[in-house]
């Protein structure tokens, strides 16, 4: 994938966000009055983001128009990105189901799914690790460092 198009889109989004921070009132609520005010630094940083995002977007736009050859770092490798989406999906489902299924069940399932996604086919070893790690860490955290990981709530 040509990264220059991504640069232009991303630059535009960041410029829009920076303009929002620079112009919109009410982004800071409450607090004491100081010489600089609560929104001084966010606005300075937003101004800088606007400048740098514009520099990147304009440079990429000029190269798109000039149709100059792509440098190696300007190509985004897309092979395998489907797996990345599945990984993010597993992670999102894990977060969603964690309060219901509890840490041990949800983590075991997620670890096994990730191992399969990574191409693992040693089912027994993968299952053993996927069950042992969450069980050991669950009880280890509870007994040793008093961290109570989420429990099954069905």
């Amino acid at each position: 994938m040509n990264r220059r198009y991504v640069d232009v889109v991303l630059g535009s989004v960041l410029i829009a966000a920076a303009i929002l921070i620079l112009t919109r009132e009410g982004l800071a609520q409450g607090g004491v009055e100081t010489q600089l005010g609560s929104m001084f630094m966010p606005r300075v940083v937003a101004g800088l983001i606007l400048i740098f995002a514009a520099m990147i977007a304009i440079a990429s736009l000029r190269q798109i128009i000039a149709q100059s050859p792509l440098a190696p770092q300007e190509t985004i490798a897309t092979e395998g990105l489907g797996g990345v989406l599945i990984y993010v999906g597993i992670f999102a489902a894990y977060w969603w189901l964690l309060p219901t299924l509890g840490f041990v069940v949800a983590t075991s399932a997620a670890m096994f799914a990730i191992a399969v996604l990574l191409g693992g086919r040693s089912w027994l070893a993968m299952a053993a690790i996927s069950i042992a790690v969450p069980v050991v860490t669950f009880y280890g955290c509870r007994e040793l460092i008093r961290v109570y990981l989420p429990e099954w709530s069905l």
Partner: protein, 503 residues
């Protein structure tokens, strides 16, 4: 100073710190040795565990992970020609050539001895240089600190990114995310868009693991169809091929000394890191060698230069972080976070407010080198096996530990959501050439900058020109401008060289 150092050794030579160091060394070597998993991942995963340790134990454990992780990278570089850490790329050139010739033992021994020598010498520089620098930086008030931090932002942003605008944009994005939530200066709720969960801001650890660690797992998932290198070892029947003699060590000692010097200087400059140090030292060793053609084909000098320089960076990169509170790269940013979590604020006053702790940490640095030498040397066979563990067993465990690390801070499910969001953001940043390390450094330094700016403005009242009245401040402004100018010049040179090469 001597009494402080002796006091430091007394504190570290106790069962708890020594166990912490031994644990850190083992974890660091394991994570460093497995290709695709870096030492920084190990530090981020170990960080929540150290919350429950004494600050000295916790921090020396993390330092042990850091140092051992850099050395661990050389194991997979030598054995399977796949550097476990970017800095070990050059080690793989000569080390793997030796391993193919049946001399893996010799290459591993040299990598270990060069690493430990480089680390010890750089640590001594850290011990003897850091305190005097902190004395100088004690002269700085809020106005000077504001300019110092401006220098830090510009140097880190301009040196770490793929280009100057991308590096600085990464840093600014980190600064912006740091301002979400309750302002530490005014108490106002900023940029929360009415979401009450954002009032306390983004929790540091999930954000850090999400931006720095998880994208490596995601990249592993993307490359899941790329075959992993198999560990195939050839053993030479001659025992001399599997060890390093004192004569051989002495013959490369000059290269180790010179490369350690290069690594120490490069490490003390923010933004360059261990890879740059290794390339510079390797280039210099090749230039000065009587047999430059042997480099890349199993040269002992090549391994010695790459390993001693990239390990020397570990010690010296702590100098700007401890004395000026400028983390030079992602690992020192992470370690600075660890110091802050343990209630120790890096900066000029650290040597006066936490004298015992800081000298105990220095002593811990040297003990890490000793234990690294012992544990790595006697566990060669085990570490060789570790280097070939498949990612389908390791990455699911990293996922579980990352989730536990994120959850542990506040025992809140929102932190797991933050981890997910910043995993996606961190991976996206890599795809578009933004720098995660600059992002994290911006995130860590922003609150310190804002507090100092508020104090500086209170001092000058309405006369803002007085902000430009300090000679130390002028120095930092000049350094900031110089860093941006030199980064632009360096990028232009690289671009022209690439253009010339393509033609």
């Amino acid at each position: 100073m001597l009494s402080n150092i002796i006091g430091g050794f007394t504190a570290v030579l106790a069962p708890a710190p020594m166990l912490g160091i031994a644990l850190g060394v083992c974890v660091g070597i394991v994570f460093g040795a497995i290709p695709g998993i870096s030492g920084i991942m190990a530090i981020a995963i170990m960080l929540p565990l150290t919350f429950y340790f004494d600050p000295v134990v916790g921090i020396v454990t993390l330092l042990a992970v850091y140092k051992a992780g850099i050395y661990g990278g050389s194991i997979s570089a030598i054995l399977i020609n796949t550097p476990g850490a970017a800095a070990s790329f050059l080690t793989s050139l000569d080390g793997h050539a030796l391993a193919r010739a049946g001399k893996a033992g010799k290459a591993l021994c040299l990598a270990l001895y060069a690493s430990v020598t480089g680390e010890v010498l750089a640590t001594l520089v850290l011990i003897f240089v850091a305190a005097p620098i902190s004395l100088l930086s004690l002269q700085a008030g809020p106005i000077e600190k504001v300019w110092l931090l401006v220098f830090a932002f510009t140097v880190v942003g301009s040196m770490t990114g793929e280009s100057v605008p991308r590096g600085l944009l990464s840093c600014c994005l980190g600064m912006l995310f740091a301002m979400v939530g309750m302002s530490a200066v005014t108490g106002a709720a900023r940029l929360t868009f009415g979401i009450p969960e954002l009032l306390s801001g983004f929790t540091f650890l999930p954000l850090l693991i999400g931006v720095l660690v998880m994208p490596e797992v995601v990249e592993g998932v993307r490359r899941r169809k790329t075959p992993q290198h198999e560990l195939v070892l050839r053993h030479s029947p001659d025992p001399a091929d599997n060890r390093l003699s004192f004569r051989e060590y002495r013959s490369v000692f000059g290269t180790i000394l010179k490369s350690t010097g290069i690594g120490t200087v490069v490490g003390a400059l923010p933004g360059l890191g261990s890879s740059a140090a290794a390339f510079l030292a390797y280039g210099e060793a090749k230039r000065a060698s009587k047999e430059p053609e042997s480099f890349g084909k199993g040269s002992l000098h090549g391994i010695a230069a790459a390993e001693s320089s990239n390990n020397a960076v570990c010690g010296s990169s702590m100098i700007p972080m401890l004395t000026l509170s400028i983390p030079g790269d992602d690992v020192t940013a992470l370690l600075m976070g660890a110091f802050l979590i343990h209630g120790i604020t890096p900066g000029p006053t650290i040597f006066y407010e936490h004298t015992d702790t800081i000298y105990a940490i220095f002593a811990g640095f040297l003990m890490v080198d000793l234990l690294l030498l012992v544990i790595a040397r006697f566990g060669f066979r085990f570490w060789m096996r570790v280097a070939s563990v498949r990612t389908c067993f390791i990455f699911p465990c990293v996922f579980a530990f990352a989730v536990i690390g994120a959850f542990t801070t506040n025992q809140s499910l929102n932190d797991i959501l933050i981890l997910l969001v910043f995993t996606v953001l961190g991976y996206g940043m890599r795809l578009v050439g933004l720098n995660p390390a600059a992002f994290i450094i911006g995130f860590i330094l922003m609150p310190i900058f804002e507090q100092n700016l508020d104090q500086a403005v209170s001092i000058v009242g309405g006369d803002y020109l007085r902000l430009l009245g300090s000679p130390i401040g002028w120095g930092f402004i000049a350094l900031a401008a110089l860093s941006v100018w030199s980064a632009i010049r360096m990028n232009r040179k690289t671009r022209l060289r690439a253009l010339a090469a393509s033609q």
